[in-house]
């Protein structure tokens, strides 16, 4: 399988082209303005069969721009970003594609999660410290299945 990487015009994100996910493979877009977290998420997801990171974005705006081209099954997106936060980006994605599935993540506690995060159409909200193989993969599969 051939895979090539192309740069987004802004230079901040990577679109993985030529990937033809196998059946039941969950394609994921990771959106976070922290590179360490994006890399960790890529390593986590790429290390698990049936999951593929098809795009990365550093902001909500880039995620909205790239969504139509990459059509990921699930968008894993940080809530708090400087250029279009995850909540507003989720709203815009859901306006463009009502089937868009977004899992919002945050470093805060559940109490810190804004009320708007529960009403913006996100499929789930997850605390970053709680991200583990044991709960992330089932969650993403469930979200994909529920689309």
């Amino acid at each position: 399988m051939h895979r090539s990487a192309g740069r987004h015009p802004t230079g901040h994100c990577t679109i993985i082209q030529g990937v033809k996910p196998a059946a039941r493979t969950v394609t994921v877009m990771v959106v976070d303005d922290n590179k360490e977290f994006r890399d960790a998420m890529r390593d986590l997801l790429e290390g698990e069969p049936g999951f593929r990171v098809v795009a990365e974005a550093v902001s909500g705006r880039q995620a909205v721009d790239m969504y139509a081209r990459t059509s990921p099954d699930v968008v894993v997106m940080d809530i708090r970003m400087t250029e279009l936060d995850g909540i507003e980006a989720t709203r815009q994605l859901r306006r463009k594609d009502p089937q868009a599935s977004v899992v919002l993540v945050t470093v805060g506690t559940l109490q810190d999660i804004p009320e708007a995060a529960r009403e913006c159409g996100a499929a789930a909200v997850l605390g970053k410290p709680e991200i583990k193989s044991s709960n992330l993969f089932p969650l993403l599969r469930r979200v994909q299945r529920d689309r």
């Binding site: 960790a40 986590l44 809530i79 936060d85 109490q111 995060a117 410290p129």
Partner: protein
């Protein structure tokens, strides 16, 4: 540019009006009081001596008939003169009246049977009446202000010297004596007579009266013109004095005309009695005029002080002075180093505006305040200087008020900037933690999870170590998250003060309820002030209310302010206890920079209520536009 003289330069003459500049400030001298008292005493003594002399004079049948009114006349003059000399502004006028009173006292000698005394008494009569005209023209400051008045007085003096003196020396009898000199053939001889030229003397005497008639009418006209031309304030102060002067001049002119044409007619005698009555009345009229002028001056000053003390700005300040001086064109100004005048807003006063204007310095002002005004105001130096003095005091107070107001505003603004900067720094620090350490820890946690998955089948020891590291990392992430939350809670940024307080309440030691979900959003700094104020009160309740107490936080908003009340049913404390005020001071420091306030009510065993508010005006300012990321 303005050519007028500085009002404090004495003796200068105004180029536009021909009026003299205002003399140096009138300052009361202690000796003046004694000088005036002694002078008044001398006049009374002279009057007494002269009166007694007259009483034993040629009118043996009615010795007091002539002496009594003359004594009363001189006494009234002396009283008014001494009264006027008590006040610095009218001291000179008082001295003029004193001299005139002295002259009238001397006229009493015309009742003497001694030829020399009789002659002196008759000679001084016209001088006394001319002196009274001088007093009328010089009212109320005792000096002749206008050139035409000085010319009139010079003409009268010349008439007396050039015409009256020959008329006296060319006749053994005085031709016209007036009603009080009805001695007829019992009159003593004129000791100054050198020959008997009755026709020439009579002609000269008539000529004197005609000149006197013209000058008196001129004096009356001059008084009327001065009244019309002067400033409105001085016009009101001159009203009584001018009426008295015009009336006296007119009556005396009438007598002069009749004495010149029909000296022995009954009409002349009747008018003569009117002159005597006028001589008696006019010093009283001057007294009334001085009192009236003083009342007006006092009213002007009171009105000015009332207006000046509440004048909110330079425009109102100028209007207040312009109003009381009734000079709508009056301007306040400063002089530039190059001599140009600028108003208090720094705009130049253009020449067209200043043409024919006078410039006077307001003494004692720190920055050399000037008045650009109608030159006629200088004709009333008493009021004008008092207004300048009052303006100086009020102006300095006005400047002090402005300075204090600016300092208070600077202080409030500084406190607001500090509060905003503190919260901005908190937000920045919290964001740094979020974007830096917290994200790094979370990423490390994810990688630990990956490592845990990969090593699980190969090494039980490594699996255990990774699990332990993961637990420690979880703990560190929790601590870091709590730290960031304490610095600036994400919920405050994303959902506002009510939600943030609910989050804080969920981790409070005491059971805490939060009401006010519908309070809405405010500018970031206001929300931070209210949030941290409530948090301070909640933490104080946690510490001091005692276990088992309940805390309630209520947020409300009305048209004027956002308000909060943090109440508990705990132990309470004595409000006089200084130690209990520390939290309140912190809350005040939070609220006062934005115009808010806080108070605390507590009684031992009766719980505590901390209430506060921030004006809604401050809260209506739009929030900063920088992106507000959520959670």
């Amino acid at each position: 540019m303005v050519e007028a003289e500085n009002m404090r330069v004495g003796g200068t003459e105004d180029r536009d009006t021909g009026l003299p500049g205002v003399s140096a400030p009138i300052r009361y001298q202690f000796l003046d009081r004694w000088v005036s008292v002694v002078a008044g005493g001398c006049v009374l003594t002279v009057a007494l001596v002269v009166g007694v002399t007259a009483a034993v004079g040629w009118d043996r049948d009615h010795p007091w008939q002539a002496a009594t009114p003359r004594l009363a006349h001189v006494a009234v003059f002396g009283f008014v003169a001494v009264w006027a000399m008590q006040r610095p502004a009218t001291a000179r006028f008082g001295r003029v009246l004193l001299v005139v009173g002295l002259l009238f006292a001397v006229t009493s000698l015309s009742g003497s049977s001694n030829p020399w005394l009789y002659t002196i008494g008759r000679l001084v009569v016209p001088l006394a009446e001319v002196g009274l005209i001088y007093a009328a023209l010089a009212f109320p400051y005792g000096r002749l202000v206008l050139r035409r008045d000085r010319l009139l007085m010079a003409t009268l003096a010349c008439a007396v010297v050039v015409l009256w003196t020959p008329a006296v020396v060319l006749n053994h009898e005085f031709l016209v004596g007036g009603p009080l000199v009805q001695c007829g053939d019992r009159c003593p001889a004129n000791v100054l007579a050198v020959s008997q030229q009755t026709t020439v003397a009579s002609g000269l005497s008539s000529l004197v009266f005609l000149v006197l008639f013209g000058c008196l009418l001129g004096a009356a006209g001059s008084l009327v013109k001065r009244y019309r031309d002067t400033s409105p304030v001085l016009r009101r102060r001159l009203l009584v004095g001018t009426c008295a002067g015009v009336a006296y001049s007119t009556v005396l002119a009438s007598y002069a005309a009749l004495a010149a044409l029909i000296p022995h007619a009954q009409a002349t005698t009747a008018i003569g009695w009117l002159v005597i009555a006028a001589n008696l009345v006019i010093p009283i009229a001057f007294l009334v005029a001085l009192l009236h002028g003083r009342l007006i001056a006092r009213g002007v000053l009171l009105s000015l002080l009332r207006e000046l003390m509440v004048a909110p700005d330079a425009v109102a300040f100028r209007m207040a002075i312009a109003d009381v001086l009734e000079d709508p064109t009056l301007r306040l100004a400063h002089r530039q180093p190059d001599g140009e005048l600028i108003d208090l807003q720094g705009r130049p006063l253009i020449e067209r505006t200043n043409a024919g204007r006078a410039v006077s310095e307001v003494p004692g002002t720190a920055d050399g305040l000037l008045l650009v005004h109608d030159p006629a105001l200088r004709n009333d130096p008493e009021v004008f200087e008092a207004v300048c003095d009052a303006a100086a005091v009020a102006y300095d107070q006005h400047r002090q008020r402005l300075r204090v107001k600016a300092l208070v505003e600077d202080l409030r603004s500084s406190r607001e900037r500090l509060a905003v900067a503190r919260d901005t720094e908190r937000r920045r620090f919290e964001r740094d933690l979020h974007d830096g350490a917290q994200q790094g820890f979370v990423a490390a946690q994810v990688r630990l999870g990956i490592a845990r998955t990969r090593v699980s089948d190969e090494s039980a020891g490594a699996e255990s170590a990774l699990d332990e590291a993961s637990v420690q990392l979880d703990h560190a992430i929790g601590q870091l998250r709590d730290l960031a939350h304490g610095i600036y809670p994400a919920a405050l940024e994303s959902d506002g003060v009510a939600v943030a307080l609910r989050v804080a309440a969920s981790s409070a030691a005491l059971r805490t309820g939060v009401n006010g979900a519908d309070v809405g959003r405010f500018p970031r700094e206001i929300e931070a002030a209210v949030y941290f104020s409530c948090l301070e009160a909640m933490q104080n309740a946690d510490k001091h209310a005692g276990s088992g107490a309940h805390v309630n936080v209520a947020l409300t908003r009305d048209a004027h302010a956002v308000r909060f009340a943090v109440t508990d049913d705990g132990k309470g404390f004595d409000p006089d206890d200084v130690a209990g005020r520390g939290g309140l001071l912190n809350i005040r420091d939070r609220l006062e920079p934005f115009g808010g306030a806080a108070s605390i009510n507590s009684t031992r065993g009766g719980g505590t209520a901390v209430t506060g508010w921030v004006p809604v005006q401050a809260a209506t300012a739009s929030r900063q536009d920088d992106p507000r990321a959520s959670a």
